[in-house]
Symmetry: C2
């Protein structure tokens, strides 16, 4: 079951095209947009895919406008697909009251509570419908698929990898929200999406999931970049809690503190190429 794609934007950039498509999603029950860069080499052969998950307040536009991803996708010959961060225009009361909850803030989880549960199914959207949609419409090598993200999207990438190890060869993150059960943003959102039982929240906490992970171990330690001047680092992101959890679980992680960098796209654009190199190396060393 695959919904039809409508082309919203097609712009030549480097040797390929930056596209934006929309489609009617059966998972989140609304029209969804996503960006996808297709390098010219994908006209001739199937190529690796990176899925990039964006942070709070983003649409599909932020990443494709500000990160410089097109040069890298062209250089490395990767398709890069970036979905939206939440359902849109579902007319749910309260979905636009807070910048860090609802529209632009779906946290890549499947809501179970009341009015949110029909549309806010972002985990299933990303890892089932969107994943299949990209595979069935673009020239992707199914054995070379990686996932990465920024902030809320870093959280999304980590939990997608830990919960679906057969779907992703590699994962990395830029300034991810690492420990959702401690972060005030996610605590507020999970209370509404999942209810008061915090045991259910652990299903979407990278620090918990790494502990029960039994999939393949990455060839190189997973790459996490964190700016030292990121104002959210201490109270919202908790990179060191994740580092401890990985260490305890004997899961290999390379957490890099990038001195002087903040939480913005200027940080992302600086280190994004290292993440391409990381995923390329994983693809080359996977079975």
């Amino acid at each position: 079951m695959s919904s039809e794609l409508t082309l919203e934007q097609s712009t030549k950039s480097f040797d390929g095209y930056q596209y934006v498509y929309s489609h009617d999603s059966y998972t989140v029950d609304c029209n969804m947009k996503f960006g996808i860069y297709v390098p010219s080499i994908a006209d001739k052969e199937c190529v690796p895919l990176l899925i990039f998950l964006s942070g709070l307040t983003c649409t599909e536009q932020n990443f494709i406008t500000k990160s410089g991803v097109q040069r890298l996708a062209s250089k490395y010959g990767f398709i890069v697909a970036n979905p939206d961060t939440s359902p849109r225009n579902c007319n749910i009361e309260g979905e636009n009251d807070q910048w860090n909850f609802g529209e632009g803030a779906g946290y890549y989880i499947d809501a179970t509570e009341g009015k949110w549960s029909e549309n806010y199914q972002m985990f299933s959207y990303i890892n089932d419908e969107f994943y299949e949609l990209i595979l069935s419409n673009f020239n992707v090598d199914i054995d070379r698929i990686g996932i990465l993200g920024h902030s809320m999207g870093g959280h999304g990438a980590l939990i997608s990898f830990f919960k679906r190890p057969s779907q992703y060869k590699s994962v990395s993150a830029l300034a991810p929200i690492c420990n959702v059960t401690k972060c005030e943003w996610t605590r507020n959102a999970f209370m509404k999406f999942l209810g008061q039982d915090e045991n259910l929240w652990k299903e979407y906490d990278a620090c918990e999931l790494v502990n029960s992970y039994s999939g393949p171990i990455p060839y190189a330690p997973i790459l996490i970049d964190q700016g030292s001047d990121d104002k959210y680092k201490e109270d919202y992101l908790f990179p060191n809690v994740f580092l401890d959890a990985c260490t305890k679980a004997s899961f290999p992680i390379h957490l890099r503190e990038q001195i002087g960098y903040d939480h913005s796209y200027y940080f992302i654009m600086t280190f994004l190429e290292d993440h391409f190199k990381y995923h390329k190396n994983e693809f080359e060393h996977s079975d």
Copy 2:
């Protein structure tokens, strides 16, 4: 006479910082912002400067957000400064009535007519006040200064070079408005800024200025990139009129038609590195 700079934004990006400053301009009689990227090498030695002039509707943010310039400025060790495209908040009746006239649309000329003449002095602002401001506040090598721009800013770069050959070692442009006396946007604006005598308009027309230019000849033909799918090419930009004017004037030009590219920042980001290389080569071969 140099006004004081106020730091509005400071963000680490690649090995340097993307800054935004504001200052009270005596030339355009209002507060003006500009972007400037300073690579770390400029802490130790004076470095080349590129001035980038933006197109219609832009503020100082568009170029620094969308072009990927920081990677290039860091790689090549250039300071890159980008001013705003017009005076702001001058409370002149009509300055915000049209997207292609007034705020965001100063056309880099000095207005002579009525209410516009006090503030809309963008040619003098760029080539006198702003130029001096950058030189007196940043570690710039005065012998290695180039200017470039996009669309309206390409026009601005070309006329600045032709009118001030002693100030700029090199010039290039991306999809410039080449022939202002034929372009509907500029005809509308020049009528208001300069009055009905079209002979006065020629003072700001690159196709006219190249004919009377008597400064140094560039080492390599000046680089002009033009997307073939740019919807403004035929009726507003007139690259071939400029090519003919340069040929007639025996002025060396390399006009490249870039197949499939449009007028957007996706076009700019694709070819900006070639422009860095062009200016670097000019700096290395200048006297």
